[in-house]
């Protein structure tokens, strides 16, 4: 009972995308007229980031695709995920994802767009990893997030640079600045940043590997994210930036090249699969490649081809994914060789599969046919590499036709086979999606004119101010595209017939490829982990000695570096002969004590020698007429000496530590001498400058008048600074008392 209720509730949430869908439909008439509406709310106005929203033909088309498929995916998931432990959480993520996608295509601000872009990435991470009992699902979710998330950050660099040049983040304001941007010396760099962002999201070669791996996600998620919406975000971005960065040779060459290679690679890899879902994933990569390739053009036919194929692909691919989901759900397997004859038990699913596959294969009367025709027309007019583009298009389409056959014929026709579960028709919520979307492909195919006028034309003109109107017709007459269509069908049929023999051969070839994106990713991850471990072992090895050495070493090198590079004066040398004999003696004594510290084998001896150095310093203060300083120094020195000596008595002797002959100690000595020299030099340099006599003058004039004393030091100590002196005395006394009480407690 509980379960049925939650399913009904889940189905009801489909009203959310439906409402947005209806809202966007109401914008279609205005979009046809080329109108766009803008909204804006302040967000972080200080840096020019606002919630700008623009609704034009392109965003409407994408929004309709997102919400349209969204409705059916929600309905589908209500049954598909029924009984799942985190049912509610799943729908929360799904709807959040849908809203972020809508936000992405409506955003008119680069930073806002980026925010939604990363949100879709994060939510897709949560959705891919949803099947969290599966270890591969978890690691693949992470891979998808790292690849697309990193791509997103690269994109952000590009956005920030663009913002820096044109001084606005409004996307609708960028097209006017296209010339300015394209004249920049770092135009190529910006372009690379934006393209890498789009390529990672839309799974272009060489970043394509994450998409098939992400198929670990629940099937409705694959249908929604990995065919109709999220992977199209990169395509959307390329279309949006077409008038801004597009039209240059770099743009066209890269897009046509990368897109074409991706399309061919995806098609070849698709044939090599036997898992239905992975096969669909590779055909998605192929389709994305084709889209990128056509966005590389700048003629109306090429761009129209891109937009039309976008719609075509979203329709048939989401339907097919949902069909695969049904097969998986009802039979318990996705292995193509173990399914057959489903038409008898699942008629409605078969209808959805057949219509979608025929659209995919490009049969006449289906939208796919229109898409293919316009695609060939576009390929032939490509500015750069038209021959390559046409070849890639024909080959991919032929492979696509073959795959459509594999997916739609194989599981449904022929004798029924033994499957883990006895197949039966899915609940209505599940087959409704594929059947409706599949039928839509047929309806649109029969009335292409309508689709062209209301959806394609406004979308194309939103990013390409067209001179000639877009023409979508069922029959364009006998021309080159039609010829190519026949060629495609023939090739596709041939490929379908020899599929078994090439599948094994291809799979074998692919396994032997020396470098793939997937392996590079794995190698990169492993190398990072190794570097991290090595670095930690090297710098954070737990040895205090190493830490202090690093700190002092960096201090010495940095300071010396600053001086070596920038100093104009050298610190003056001491006037050695002018030193009185007493001071020579003191210095010698301290030097000797230092030697004792270094070679001492007993801790107490070393500490005592340190005490000698400290007392020597106190004596130097005394010689220079600072009795107060000398006194304090002596007191502190004595206290420290006593406390340290008591602590050290409890420690093991020094005998076992490294002697003078270990290289480590020589290195330590080097650092010590270095830092000593440096500090001495700096002190000399700073005391070499003129003294500030302000205070001296004040005390010279005032000590006799105000305090009736001639000895300035005495007057300062007991008159001007008497409270300070008192404080110092209290501190030293307290420290002594505290030390004493600690000792007394020990003895007790």
């Amino acid at each position: 009972m509980q379960r049925t209720e939650s399913i009904i509730f889940a189905r009801l949430t489909a009203l959310l995308p439906l409402a947005i869908f209806a809202g966007l439909c109401s914008r279609v008439p205005a979009a046809v007229g080329g109108g766009a509406i803008f909204f804006s709310w302040d967000w972080i106005p200080g840096i020019g980031v606002n919630l700008d929203v623009a609704v034009d033909g392109l965003s409407v088309l994408f929004g309709l695709i997102i919400t349209g498929t969204g409705v059916f995916v929600v309905l589908f998931s209500a049954d598909y995920m029924a009984g799942h432990r985190y049912y509610v959480r799943f729908f929360a993520f799904l709807h959040l994802f849908l809203l972020s996608m809508i936000g992405l295509v409506l955003a008119d601000n680069l930073i806002t767009l980026f925010v939604f872009w990363e949100l879709t990435t994060v939510l897709s991470y949560l959705l891919i990893g949803f099947d969290n009992k599966n270890e591969s699902a978890r690691s693949h979710a992470r891979q998808a997030l790292l690849v697309t998330g990193a791509g997103g950050l690269v994109l952000l660099i590009g956005f920030l640079m663009i913002g820096g040049i044109v001084d606005t983040y409004r996307i609708s304001a960028l097209a006017e600045q296209a010339r300015l941007l394209q004249r920049q010396t770092n135009y190529l760099f910006i372009l690379a940043m934006v393209l890498i962002g789009a390529f990672t999201k839309s799974a272009q070669f060489p970043f394509h590997f994450w998409l098939p791996n992400a198929m670990a996600a629940p099937t409705p998620i694959s249908a929604f994210l990995h065919s109709a919406t999220m992977v199209k975000a990169g395509i959307y971005l390329l279309a949006r930036f077409h008038p801004v960065l597009g039209g240059t040779e770099a743009w066209m060459g890269t897009l046509v090249g990368v897109g074409g290679v991706t399309a061919l690679l995806g098609a070849i890899l698709a044939v090599g699969q036997s898992d239905l879902k992975r096969m669909l994933a590779y055909t998605t990569i192929m389709a994305l490649g084709i889209l990128v390739m056509f966005l590389g053009g700048k003629t109306t036919p090429a761009l129209t081809a891109a937009v039309t194929f976008l719609l075509v692909h979203s329709l048939y691919k989401s339907a097919l994914f949902l069909v695969v989901g049904i097969i998986d759900h009802e039979t318990g397997t996705r292995q193509i060789e173990s399914i057959g004859g489903l038409i008898r038990s699942m008629p409605m699913t078969t209808f959805g599969a057949a219509t979608a596959a025929m659209s995919m294969a490009g049969f006449p009367l289906f939208l796919g046919f229109i898409g293919k025709e316009i695609m060939y027309a576009g390929a032939l007019t490509e500015e750069m590499f038209p021959a390559f583009a046409t070849t890639a298009a024909v080959l991919s389409n032929a492979l696509m036709a073959a795959i459509a056959g594999i997916i739609a014929i194989r599981p449904f026709l022929g004798p029924p086979r033994q499957t883990p579960r006895a197949p039966h028709e899915a609940p209505i919520g599940m087959w409704l999606g594929p059947a409706t979307i599949g039928a839509l492909g047929l309806v649109f195919g029969i009335f292409p004119d309508w689709v062209g006028r209301w959806l394609i034309q406004p979308a194309v003109s939103a990013f390409h101010p067209t001179v000639e109107p877009v023409q979508l017709k069922l029959f364009h007459g006998f021309n080159e595209p039609l010829l190519l269509s026949f060629l495609t069908m023939g090739l596709g049929l041939g490929l379908y017939l020899v599929r078994r023999s090439i599948r094994g051969w291809l799979a074998d070839r692919m396994a032997r490829l020396p470098v793939t994106g997937d392996r590079l990713y794995e190698m990169g991850m492993a190398a990072t982990a190794r570097t991290a471990a090595g670095l930690t072992r090297f710098i954070q090895n737990g040895s205090l000695h190493r830490y202090l050495l690093t700190i002092i070493g960096v201090f010495t090198l940095a300071t010396a570096g600053i001086w070596a590079l920038n100093a104009t004066t050298r610190p003056g040398l001491l006037h050695l002969p002018s030193l009185p004999l007493a001071q020579w003696l003191l210095v010698t004594l301290m030097a000797a004590a230092l030697g004792v510290v270094v070679v001492a084998r007993s801790r107490v001896l070393a500490v005592c020698a340190l005490g000698v150095i400290g007392s020597g310093a106190a004596l130097i203060f005394l010689v220079y007429g600072a009795p107060d300083l000398a006194l304090t120094q002596l007191l502190v020195e004595t206290l420290t000496l006593i406390i340290v000596a008591i602590v050290l008595l409890r420690l093991p002797s020094l005998d076992k530590t490294a002697g003078l002959h270990s290289p480590g100690r020589w290195f330590d000595a080097l650092v010590a001498v270095g830092v000593g020299t440096l500090v001495a030099a700096l002190t000399l340099a700073v005391t070499g400058g003129p003294l500030d006599r302000q205070l001296t003058d004040f005390f010279e004039q005032n000590s006799a008048i105000a305090a009736h004393g001639r000895n300035i030091v005495n007057v300062i100590l007991v008159d001007f600074r008497s409270l300070d002196t008192l404080g110092e005395l209290v501190v030293v006394a307290t420290a002594g008392l505290a030390g004493f009480s600690l000792l007394a407690r020990r003895r007790r």
């Binding site: 994060v122 992470r142 991290a532 930690t536 002092i552 940095a558 300071t559 500090v679």
Partner: protein
């Protein structure tokens, strides 16, 4: 002298005195905790009430202005949150709870003084007072295996940093003859091309870099975090960074944006900190060590904002300082609640957290996403503001390096997240029960992380107004 200006400090002083007395009486953890929370709440009230006051105290050694007061409000909030986390305070023996609260109060007090001090000697005094409180707080760890060793290391690294800082201060005084910030501002700009001045400034900064855990003064961080009682680690990771940002801004702004040498030095430290911190974090298995290295990396991001030496950069650093407080506190809050008996927490012990406590798991996820700079969180807005400020100064390469670092950091934050959300525990563990106030704080932290991500303007306006008080 207007003592009202000192209300937050006086409240803390009162709290410290109270706990000094209580520490001598018979220990009663319940009473101590309730008193501590009340005093901390009073401090927050005082900190916020005095947020807009201004004036000079103690012969102009102590400056109360919007800059210092915003930091004090942040510090008092952080103090309250950390005290709140001490409800079981398992890492410290019950007899020492009083001392713990006393030291936390003294440390917060000295960090407030750090935000207000405008005299170099006052700065040193405040800095040392806060450092020494922390050394002893680390020692308080009940498990002597940790407390003693790490406390001593923390102290020795800190003492080295202090020595270097004092030498730097001596150099500055030697060259300029000034120890007051106001006079330094007049004298320094003309001398900034002199290597002596730059050396002095950089060495002075060393003491504060130690607080912020910037390479190479970061060595203490992993071990101190690991060795400290959990709430103390939270205090070091979240609250003390805020004070470090305050004083670094105060000193770096002395250069008034026209020292190439200083900028170059800061760039080097920022880049090395980010990279070393993020790379080393990957290799960690202990939650607190991982957070420590992530702190090192975040110190790099903070420096990136500061080294712009523009009001936008300072505001960005200040904003990000507040963000670090929120994010790091949330992580440590979750860690403290999950760790058993106040012990340390391995990352794989987080497994199944989303079932043991969905609220804590959500809080951890939000905090990690925020640390990783994923929108719409406070960590994202903070990083964005820093990056924009850096781009305005033309530091494209730096921004790219920072972005690469963000990607690296994403990797290990995801490892933690995976443990909390996706992994199954090896043996079943009981659900974590939270008191209603604890739940409330967790919810507030989530709201802050997401809320300030969506709507950063209020805080941003505040910090922008605050940094205008800097020269």
């Amino acid at each position: 002298m207007n003592w009202i200006l000192l209300t937050p400090e006086l409240t803390l002083l009162l709290a410290a005195a109270l706990f000094l007395v209580l520490a001598c009486l018979k220990p009663d953890p319940r009473r101590d905790y309730q008193l501590a929370v009340s005093m901390a709440a009073l401090t927050v009230a005082a900190g916020i009430a005095c947020a807009t006051m201004s004036g000079d105290l103690f012969n102009h050694v102590y400056r109360v202005d919007l800059f210092s007061q915003v930091f004090k409000a942040l510090l008092s909030i952080g103090f309250f949150l950390v005290i709140f986390l001490c409800d079981d305070f398992q890492g410290v023996a019950p007899t020492h709870h009083g001392e713990g609260y006393f030291l936390l109060a003294v440390c917060t007090l000295s960090m407030m003084m750090l935000a207000s001090a405008v005299h170099l000697l006052a700065i040193v005094l405040a800095l040392e007072l806060s450092s020494y409180s922390l050394y002893i707080l680390v020692f308080l760890r009940r498990d002597s295996r940790w407390g003693m060793i790490t406390g001593l290391r923390y102290f020795l690294v800190g003492a080295s940093a202090s020595a270097i800082m004092l030498f730097g201060l001596a150099l500055i005084y030697g060259v300029t003859g000034a120890v007051h910030v106001d006079i330094l501002i007049q004298r320094l700009p003309a001398m900034l091309d002199r290597p002596m001045v730059v050396t002095g400034l950089l060495l002075t900064l060393a003491g504060f870099f130690f607080k912020l855990a910037v390479f190479p003064f970061h060595f203490w961080a992993p071990e101190a975090y690991q060795g400290a009682p959990n709430p103390v680690a939270a205090f070091i990771a979240a609250v003390s960074k805020v004070a470090a940002v305050a004083i670094l801004l105060r000193i770096i702004s002395l250069a008034q944006g026209n020292s190439d040498l200083l900028t170059r030095g800061l760039i080097a430290m920022a880049v090395v900190s980010m990279t070393v911190g993020n790379l080393a974090a990957i290799a960690q298995r202990d939650f607190k060590r991982l957070m420590a290295f992530s702190s090192v990396a975040h110190a790099g991001y903070l420096l990136l904002g500061m080294l712009c030496m523009t009001p936008a950069g300072y505001a960005a650093a200040m904003f990000y300082g507040a963000a670090v407080l929120v994010m790091k506190y949330t992580c440590f809050m979750v860690m403290t609640r999950v760790a058993e008996d106040g012990g340390n927490l391995q990352i794989d012990e987080l497994a199944g957290l989303h079932r043991r406590s969905p609220l804590l798991a959500l809080a951890l996820m939000m905090a990690l996403f925020s640390l990783g700079g994923i929108p719409p969180t406070i960590g994202f807005s903070g990083k964005l503001i820093i990056f924009v400020a850096a781009m305005q100064k033309g530091y494209l390469v730096l921004v790219i390096i920072a972005m690469i670092n963000v990607v690296i950091s994403l990797y290990y934050y995801l490892l933690v997240l995976k443990a909390a959300y996706l992994d199954e525990p090896t043996r079943p563990r009981p659900a974590i029960s939270l008191t209603i106030p604890a739940r409330l704080v967790a919810v507030v932290m989530i709201v802050l992380i997401v809320g300030l991500g969506f709507y950063p303007v209020a805080l941003l306006d505040l910090v922008q107004a605050a940094v205008l008080r800097l020269p």
